[in-house]
Amino acid sequence: MGELFKWDYTDYPGYKKYPHLFKPIQIGKLTIPNRIKYAATEDNLNDKDGFITDADVSYMRERAKGVVGGIACMQGVYMDKKRHGQGYVGQAACWDDKYIPGLKRIADAIKEEGAISASQLMHCGRVGAVEVEYCQGPSPVPQRLRIFRPVEVMSKDDIKRCIDEHIEAADRLCQAGFEIIEISGIVGYLISNFISSYTNRRTDEYGGDIRGRMKMVMETIQGVKKVIGDRPLGIRLCSDELLDDVRGNTPEESMITYQMAEEAGADYMSVTAGWQEAIYPVISRDIPQGSWLFLAKRAKEHIKIPVQMAYRLFDPAIPNKAIGDGILDIWEMCRPMIADPHLPKKVLEGREDEIRPCVACNVCLARLFRDAPMTCYINPVCAHDHDPKFHITPAETMKKVMIVGAGAAGLECAWVAAERGHEVHVYDKLREVGGTLLEARKAPYGDEELYYQINFAKVKSDKAGVQFHLETEVTTDLVDEEMPDTVVLAVGPKYIKGIAPGFDRANVVGVLDVLAGKAAVGDNVVVWGNKKPGVGVALFLAKQKKKVTIVGKNKDFAIDINPSFRWRYNAYLRQNGVTVYNDCDIAEITDNGVTVMTYDGYMIPVKADTVVCTERAPNQDLKNAIKELGVEIFEIGDMVIPRNLSSAVHDGYKVGLRI
């Protein structure tokens, strides 16, 4: 194994804690020093014609640093000049030699960081053709969603050309210097369209039973193998399409595809689950971590080549155990390393508590689907890795900084400012840090994971020397006494009541008191406010078997949750019997209930013994009180305009850089 063992992990705390993650493995003729892979991630950062940009190179370089000798896989490239395979406006292209120099920059960056460079071939099939009018597929099966293009059936010549394009692109990726080539058959892209009984209805040799439906894939694997020499060839295939409602493949058929791919020469299998068109959630926060590992186990039972898998494996203890148990060989990660590019490095160095946690909100994905460059909800630097304005650099003048509020915004600002060399003091009237999230994390369907951001920022703050003054109310006198150079107000929003008759009644309570268990709540509840705080508390109460009705002024519910996650909440509200009146307000609250008024003046009587207020407003009281002192003031988070965790973190980070 020789030179590999510049990667000797044995002295690191992470090796001792997670020995299985830092053991070498053989893939084909290549030895990988550890079991870690950054999985392919489309980022929409490339040029509209598919040329690699500085932003993408820096993005990949950071992730390559993170895998400490493991595999870093670049995003899937499209391979046809006609752009049928292109699924994202900023997707990298590889249909001509002119792309090789750009791709080489990525391969070089990965290798310079000591990682193994992998690249991916990705024809997006029936969810592709973002820049052209028709997408391509084996059969003319319409998609469920309107946003996709009509499907044009591929002739045998088209199939042949498409296979050749895979082969030629693989050759170019080798010329660019990549050490691993991967074919993506994930989430409903072309490879999976050929394999699935849902989308392949062909009667020629490229259709029929599962063996016929695999023919295109087999020819692709065999063809690519011929041009890539000794390099390993991997493939990502669905272990469960989750398409039983549209008559997709059975799990048994999926396992046949795994065996056939192995027979054709694939050197590893990356196990995937679900299609974009599936009606089941797969990777959002409501799915507990590790839920899909049974699919890796099933794969291990059917094939001999190494099995890799991502899908909500955020906590290193889970893949470490899975590898130890023999049900997984390589731990893949996508979103955890979007949120923290150095995640595995921190694990190795025993700095797990410094990992910025992905909150599985899928904003990164949602942005891609809307032709926007990727960003991360929780990591302000993501996709700005190349931009020095986003880097933490020492402050020119050291300042004494007073941050009022130890919620997400205040803590984020605190650690960034402290790392830049400022003397930072954080004040909060509560005994614990966390602000709103102390209670908001109690909402069901995974919201406890939101609080991990607080843990992260608190650890970073402590390590950067931030001084905490908890159970301390900040007043004008205190500011005057402490004489800070800068005050950062992160006091959170004001929780407000409506103006309709009855809002002053005793049965009207606040959302935080309800979540904290401090308010008495009856069996029939109206929640006032249809944004995330309202939806969260409604589900929290519905889980206690209460009849809950949401009344909110916004035209749609949960407009502060991105569409790639909001559909889950829609389903949970339905499942839990929560009635939602959007575009409505409370006209009156009485002892027995609430009169709801629709935007166009209709009245609906709703039985209720409790009303929970979740509406918020900007909170300027302290600012107004201290502005006469002449001290520099910054405002961040919900006190400016109530928004969400992401805005709090991004505000905090940016102001931390500006002070």
């Binding site: 099966v141 319409p142 549209v246 009169t595 009245m603």
Partner: protein, 173 residues
């Protein structure tokens, strides 16, 4: 502020009927305008183009609501239910009745506002039947293409033909 439930419901009911009427009226107003623009064209051909566009959209609305998880028989009923919901939205009185075998159902329109509007706008009633048939055909073709089924739908009775009800047989041959 006590709510007068009767008043609220009657206002809503009137509002709903107003909206249903104007949906259908809009179609016939569009038909009249289009015929005026192309006087040499066959009016029914123009109208059928309109029905076709409606059908494409209706089919797209159906697809995300379809599921085969409970098997073919349940799926057939689900498709019938989607037709019922759509026409109820127009203000029709329509329901699904069982057929003679599990893979057959009847969709029965006891009342439908479309023919009355056709008369109001001087559109031939046979065009109304042809329009409905086209919509049903296009949508069932979309459902079949999506789910790899081979369902058929056929019209057995039609209100515009003076047969009192519209009766469509939805079945697997």
């Amino acid at each position: 502020m006590p709510v007068d439930a009767e008043k609220e419901i009657s206002r809503l009911w009137r509002g709903l009927h107003g909206a249903q009427d104007s949906t259908i009226k809009t179609f016939y107003q569009w038909r009249k305008a289009a015929i005026g623009l192309v006087p040499d064209a066959n009016p029914s051909e123009i109208a059928l183009k309109g029905w076709e566009a409606m059908a494409q959209d209706m089919g797209k609305l159906f697809l995300p609501r379809l599921s085969f998880s409970k098997g073919e028989e349940a799926f057939l009923k689900q498709v019938a239910g989607l037709y019922v919901n759509t026409w109820q939205g127009y203000g029709a009185v329509v329901k699904v009745e069982p057929g003679t075998s599990p893979m057959e159902v009847f969709i029965k329109w006891e009342r439908c506002p479309w023919p009355a509007f056709a008369k109001d706008f001087n559109a031939p009633l046979k065009e109304d039947v042809a329009g409905c048939d086209l919509v049903l055909q296009i949508t069932i073709d979309m459902v079949n293409a999506f789910m790899n089924t081979n369902f058929k739908i056929e019209t057995q009775k039609a209100i515009p033909r003076g047969e009192g009800i519209c009766l469509r047989r939805l079945y697997k041959p």
